[in-house]
Amino acid sequence: MHKDSTNVGNKAVKIVTRSIWYIVLSVLAFIMLYPFIFTLLAGMNTSAEFGHAGALFPVPEVPQFGNLLFMFTPAGLRPLINTFTRTAWYTIVVSLMAILMGYVLARYRFRGKNFFLVTILATQMIPSVLTLIPAFVMMAHIPFVGGNNWMGMGGRGLINNSLAIYLPLGWGFLIWVFLFMQSMKSLPRDFEEAAELDGCGFWRTLFTIIVPMQMPMIAVIAVNVALGVWNDWLIPFLYINDIQRSTLPAWMGQLVAALQQFGDRDYPRIFAMSAVAILPPFFIFLFLQKYIIQGIASAGVKG
């Protein structure tokens, strides 16, 4: 009898705390998602409707898709394509780099291995402020391009050249080499030794034995690099002035920075562009969330 009543009491307390939990988290989730709701709504306004700056909930009377479609006209499409190619390029390069370097560092024995390991870890401590502006200066002084002479003077170098957003390889990416190396340690050597006895060379062993077994880790690397590069507005923003050679987030950066100055602004178009820029990473997140979270978790534990 007594036991029953406490059970009922416990249950009531449990239900109340659960409800509070749901209410509080729902409110928080709404706050977190609100800017995205705003973006979608505002992107479908007409300029007149949105007015000078828009309401808290700029619900359009008649949803307009003209600004969204603008992204797929020749003027808007080019930066979008650039963002895709740049993301794909760095994803492939960094994944390959992590696989190759990580494999060799984890499995092979050679002189100077410690030097490579220590260097990789040391670079992770160096703040990027030390290289940001000098890298920009260096870009402008690469010899023989953009009107530069052999001394690297006289022209603009790689500034405003499409190559400028594909060539640089920041040493921040080396963290993925380290994480791939770590994940190699949990893989037994038996498979490679068997493959080697069967006469497999370096490349065969790596790409037919190791890579298929390391697929989860490679997915973690690829997804996180892809997100980071897609959202990297700064490098294209610094190196490229011409929108047609730049990327969508960098273009957005120019538009948003200009909002701080006086002048005309077309908010609905900006928000329609935002929506397009957010969608690809949003879908990556939706379907590959597992790998993103594993990425932060492993960086958190080992980094």
């Binding site: 989730a29 998602l33 402020v129 290289t131 890298a135």
Partner: protein, 301 residues
């Protein structure tokens, strides 16, 4: 006997050859794009260069100006306190979120995802929403304030409000990753420890003090360490949300370095200020690193 030794040696040589052939090209390429600018940046600090006329060597003048002109030290200090505010608020709130998400209730996956979504969108994209909402006349927030019969606030004229919104944006964007790292730490603690403590009669506070907090030490170190390095170089939010307003009172050193480097081409000063900010950042990082190490040794002893 002899042939076996030879085999091992050739095998070792083969491995070394492959390793060098892979590592050295990558290292050289990365050194070109990173080490060279690092050296160039330090050299720039000793020069005056505006990208038009050739650079001239000015010795320590840029550094002297940094410390004695009264312009740059306040910027550095502002970088530190605004960064510390962002990081502190985010660390505490993300821990609270992690505690709230550390259940097995239905829907926690959705809530976890909603906290993380802001981090997968670019800063240059999501700041537009805040700029629009904060517009002084007819912005979303002021429209709301007038609709509930309150006076509109000219956010951009107040240092307090601008810093407030910088912190809000920072936390909005960074809370997801931080709380997921916290959550990983919470779930990494062996549940049998709590059981054992309960059997030994430890109350809730003691369990938190002696099991939860020590178990989270490394996670906390990671969040704060990476947070310091990030916050000391934060300028993107400033650039897009406030542009340093009101009257340069949210201008931080990193924003100034960016402007010198890419807008006004005061490249010598950008090099000197960048070198100093980089060293200060590394100093904070190393200081914190050693602090954690010492505490750990003390507790192990």
């Amino acid at each position: 006997m002899k042939s076996k030794a030879l085999k091992i040696r050739t095998r070792g040589w083969r491995e070394a050859k492959i390793a060098y052939l892979i590592l050295i090209p990558f290292f050289v390429y990365i050194a070109f794009w990173n080490l060279l600018p690092l050296i160039l940046g330090v050299l720039l600090g000793f020069a005056e260069y505006n990208a038009l006329s050739p650079p001239t060597w000015v010795g320590l003048r840029n550094y002297h100006r940094f410390f004695y002109s009264g312009v740059y030290l306040p910027l550095l200090w502002r970088q530190v306190w605004i960064g510390a505010l962002c990081l502190g608020v985010n660390t505490v709130l993300s821990f609270a979120v992690a505690l709230a998400l550390n259940t097995n209730a239905r829907g926690r996956g959705f809530f976890r995802a909603s906290f993380y979504v802001p981090a997968v969108a670019a800063v240059s994209v999501t700041t537009a929403v805040f700029v629009s909402l904060l517009a002084p006349f007819g912005g979303g927030f002021n429209r709301f304030l007038t609709s509930v019969d309150m006076d509109p606030i000219i956010w951009h004229h107040s240092q307090f409000w601008m810093v407030f919104w910088i912190v809000v944006y920072f936390v909005w964007r960074a809370i997801g990753p931080a709380s997921i790292i916290w959550l990983g730490g919470l779930q990494g603690i062996d549940p049998s420890l709590y059981e054992a403590a309960k059997v030994d009669g430890a109350n809730f506070r003691q369990r938190v003090r002696y099991i939860t907090l020590p178990g989270l030490r490394f996670v906390a170190a990671f969040i704060i360490l990476t947070g310091i390095i990030g916050a000391m170089q934060m300028f993107d939010i400033i650039l897009f949300l406030t542009a340093g307003n009101p009257f340069g009172r949210t201008d931080v050193l990193m924003f100034r370095i960016y402007r010198y480097g890419a807008v006004t081409f005061n490249l010598g000063m950008a090099g000197a200020a960048g070198t100093i900010l980089g060293i200060v950042t590394m100093f904070f990082a190393v200081l914190y690193f050693y602090h954690m190490r010492r505490r750990e040794e003390k507790e192990n002893a």
